[in-house]
């Protein structure tokens, strides 16, 4: 593996230097996000379903659903283990809103699922105690 490719995933996703409105428009088909359907939060955790990074699952998804961009495939690879929407956005160098649209495509195709990540309205003391203990251990 060369250094140049060390961070690479969906090569054209990371090679794309253009982060302007045109790239975003193409990727999202002009769809605005987030919160359109799924109410994705900055820290909603996304994880791949099964092993969709294996080529057969992805090609099945491409057959059944809209065309998947390299960015979609990159998300799937990132999310072999859980990762937040905002981290995916940073790694793809795409705005949060555009990233949310791509994740919604993958949710629809059942290639990823999300884990509830939003703070309950009334904070749970046990949850905060766990946070406190964790911070004290750092």
């Amino acid at each position: 593996m060369t250094r140049r490719h060390g961070r690479d995933v969906g090569s054209s996703a990371d090679d794309a230097q253009d982060t302007g409105p045109e790239r975003i428009y193409v990727l999202t088909g002009g769809r605005g996000g987030p919160h359109a359907r799924t109410r994705l939060d900055l820290v909603t955790l996304v994880v791949a379903v099964g092993k969709p990074w294996q080529s057969s699952a992805v090609s099945a998804a491409i057959r059944e659903h809209r065309r998947l961009f390299p960015e979609h495939l990159a998300i799937i690879r990132y999310c072999r283990r859980p990762l937040s929407v905002v981290e995916i956005s940073a790694h793809l160098r795409l705005p949060f809103s555009a990233t949310a649209v791509l994740i919604e495509d993958l949710l629809e195709a059942e290639l990823v699922r999300t884990r509830a990540a939003v703070m309950p309205v009334v904070p749970d003391p046990e949850l905060i105690e766990e946070v406190l203990r964790g911070l004290q251990r750092l």
């Binding site: 995933v9 428009y25 990132y78 990762l83 406190l132």
Partner: protein, 208 residues
């Protein structure tokens, strides 16, 4: 393409440090304050990953997003936000967002404060007045916060009571002095926030 489902947290191929498979609950902490007060420094001091940046392209709220095509001549504003991450237990991960406090960025961090566990307001004792608006805004939104005065070389050190009075804060709101460059000091700020939140959560009526 050789993906084999390797479980290494720092994936060599993607360069992405994913979370533990057991991670289930992600919580947000907003780190707010004026430009140059040490927000990104605090995040860098305590984060388990190299801090990342997310950007959002903003257009005026009065213009529907759908009306903007790729050839739109409308000017967009790009707002960047730094963030870091701390895994505090098998299931809980904290995300720390360093958020610009200026008024023109508030529309961005309103979405962040919404659902945040709490906030750390970093102040520079030499320019306290710059933090008044941020404090007002958090109070109005009912977001629990503590105030942390970042010690810059050569800046005076005030006792927390003096700072609390100068900032007109309720007695319950913790005020601490710290050094954003120091990991231990920055960690202790987060511990203070968590202790404050815990006390409030155990009290009927919550933060107040």
């Amino acid at each position: 393409m050789g993906f084999n489902g390797s479980e290494s947290p720092g994936d060599l191929r993607t360069g992405v440090r994913t979370l533990e498979p057991t991670a289930a609950i992600a919580l947000k902490i907003a780190v707010v304050g004026p430009l140059g007060v040490g927000k990104s420094t605090l995040v860098r001091s305590v984060s388990e990953i190299s801090p990342l940046t997310t950007e959002e392209t903003m257009s005026r709220q009065s213009v529907p997003i759908d009306a903007l095509g790729p050839s739109s001549t409308k000017t967009h504003t790009t707002v960047a936000m730094d963030f870091g991450r701390i895994t505090v237990s098998e299931r809980i991960v904290l995300y720390l967002f360093g958020t610009p406090g200026q008024e023109r960025f508030w529309f961005l961090w309103d979405g962040l404060v919404d659902g945040a566990l709490g906030a750390v307001v970093i102040v520079d004792v030499r320019r306290l007045a710059e933090s008044f608006d941020v404090l007002d805004r958090l109070e109005r939104r009912g977001c629990a916060f503590i105030v942390a005065a970042n010690g810059f070389p050569g800046s005076p050190i005030y006792r927390p009571e003096e700072l609390r009075e100068a900032l007109d804060l309720p007695a319950a709101v913790p005020v601490v002095n710290f050094d954003a460059r120091d990991r231990e000091s920055s960690r202790s700020v987060l511990v203070s926030l968590a202790e404050y939140l815990l006390a409030a959560a155990r009290r009927p009526g919550g933060v107040g």
